[in-house]
């Protein structure tokens, strides 16, 4: 990646950027990227429509960004609004604003503090959410940490360590209406749940905390707590 033959470009008013190789691309006004973009940095502070796919070291959206293709980045930070119609591959994906991803997400680390809606599956080593999120498919992460501040849902959750707790209320901000995590199945090695609605929870060491409603818990080593659990059974140790 020779920085020398990668021109920088900036749109401060209204304009178009054609696809291609760039150094830093900044869209501070209103802009359209026509074609696939390969850039060192893409910053969207205004409003941008990106019509192709994006490959970049860093993508930052603090304004409004609509991406019609996939986004591949080492670092993808959304503090404004991002709408990705394709999938996302990222080393680190952070959403502090609002983000909608139609496809799937593959990330090393994913941090959600805002509102995030993902249509497909999520694969990450670390999934850390303290906002509101929805995952249409499987949320698969080594470590899943969820602070429930609003309505969170995933079709299924799987991983090694899964920790779901009610978020601490902020002094001046009221909670969003519904404060629950909803999932069909939750499977992991070590599981701690609060404020969770699930059909089946399976794991080795399972702890059920406050405000849960779970149809069935299957555990191999230990089950602690259990208020709100309809049925539980021990399965032979395999985990």
């Amino acid at each position: 990646m020779e920085a020398t033959n990668r021109p920088n470009t900036k749109i401060a008013g209204a304009g178009d950027v054609s696809g291609g190789m760039y150094g830093e691309v900044v869209i501070a006004g209103a802009g359209t990227v026509r074609g696939d973009l390969d850039a060192t940095t893409l910053k969207i502070a205004g409003t941008a429509d990106v019509q192709g796919k994006v490959v970049a070291t860093t993508v930052k959206v603090s304004g409004n960004g609509t991406f019609y293709g996939d986004v591949q980045a080492n670092e993808f930070i959304v503090s404004g609004n991002a709408d990705v119609r394709g999938g996302v591959g990222a080393g680190f994906l952070k959403v502090a604003g609002a983000c909608t991803i139609t496809g799937s997400v593959n990330a090393q680390q994913l941090k959600i503090a805002g509102t995030t809606k993902i249509g497909g599956d999520v694969q990450a080593e670390v999934f850390d959410a303290s906002g509101v999120f929805s995952v249409g498919g499987l949320l698969n992460a080594g470590t899943v940490t969820i602070k429930v501040y609003g309505g969170c849902d995933a079709h299924d959750i799987g991983g090694e360590t899964i920790d779901v707790r009610l978020g601490k209320p902020w002094a001046f901000l009221p909670f969003f209406g519904d404060r629950n995590l909803t999932a069909d199945t939750i499977e992991g090695d070590t599981i701690y749940l609060e404020n969770t609605r699930a059909k089946v929870v399976r794991g080795a060491n399972v702890t059920i905390g406050t405000d849960c409603s779970i149809d069935l818990v299957e555990y191999s080593t230990s089950l602690t707590g259990g208020a709100g659990v309809v049925a539980s059974r021990r399965i032979a140790a395999g985990a």
Partner: protein, 209 residues
């Protein structure tokens, strides 16, 4: 002709692995996405796997783990993705990866070529399998090489099988997706069906040895 399935729960019990391990392997691409079969049961949706393939794969991963091979390396070994390297004919022959007979067939199509790309090596290795098993004759093995070379681009992304059909002494080779069921007319016979991802796995094992 549906392959026998094993539920996720039974698999974990049988092999003594944990949910966490299985999800990690899935993330690392050690288990193909299309082996996860979701079915409705009385407890709701459950995940099943094709039993024989899955048990073999888990055994392979566990034994490689015992040898302290990293998950990324295991992923490369079991993935059907082609290797970027090219291979010297003499080297392949000396190491016994593909037999001389199969390489000669390949040479017939590409005279004088001494360096094989992965796809070409794969084609030669399939021909080798067909010849060694006695399922195919010389011309049929040659047809298999030609079909694979031409069809490789199409099947690189999907799991496919090479099928050899014979009817009244006339044979033809074709590529079909692994999951598909073949119905052929009564007088025709499926002589051989080689699963390409399995072949690639074996080939990679031989190359590593």
């Amino acid at each position: 002709m549906e392959a026998e399935l094993i539920s996720k729960k039974d698999l974990l019990l049988a092999k003594g692995i944990s949910y966490g391990q299985l999800y990690r392997w899935k993330r690392k691409g050690l288990i193909p996405e299309d082996w996860f079969v979701r079915k409705s049961t009385f407890t709701g949706q459950e995940t099943f796997f094709p039993k024989d393939k899955m048990l073999a794969r888990v055994d392979r991963i566990l034994s490689m783990k015992d040898e302290d091979i990293s998950l990324d390396d295991i992923a490369e070994a079991v993935s059907p993705a082609p290797l970027p390297d090219t291979f010297q004919r003499d080297d392949i022959l000396a190491r016994g990866v593909v037999s001389a007979a199969a390489l000669d067939l390949f040479a017939e199509r590409h005279p004088g070529v001494s360096e094989l790309r992965f796809a070409e090596l794969l084609a030669a290795s399939v021909a080798d399998t067909l010849l060694t098993s006695g399922d195919a004759g010389r011309d049929e093995a040659l047809a298999a090489i030609a079909t694979l070379e031409e069809g490789w681009m199409a099947c690189e992304k999907t799991n496919c099988d090479l099928v050899l059909l014979r009817k009244m002494g006339v044979s033809t080779a074709l590529l079909v997706s692994t999951a598909s069921e073949l119905v052929v007319e009564g007088s025709a016979k499926v002589v051989a069906r080689v699963t390409i991802p399995t072949q690639i796995e074996q080939l990679k094992t031989l190359l590593k040895a």
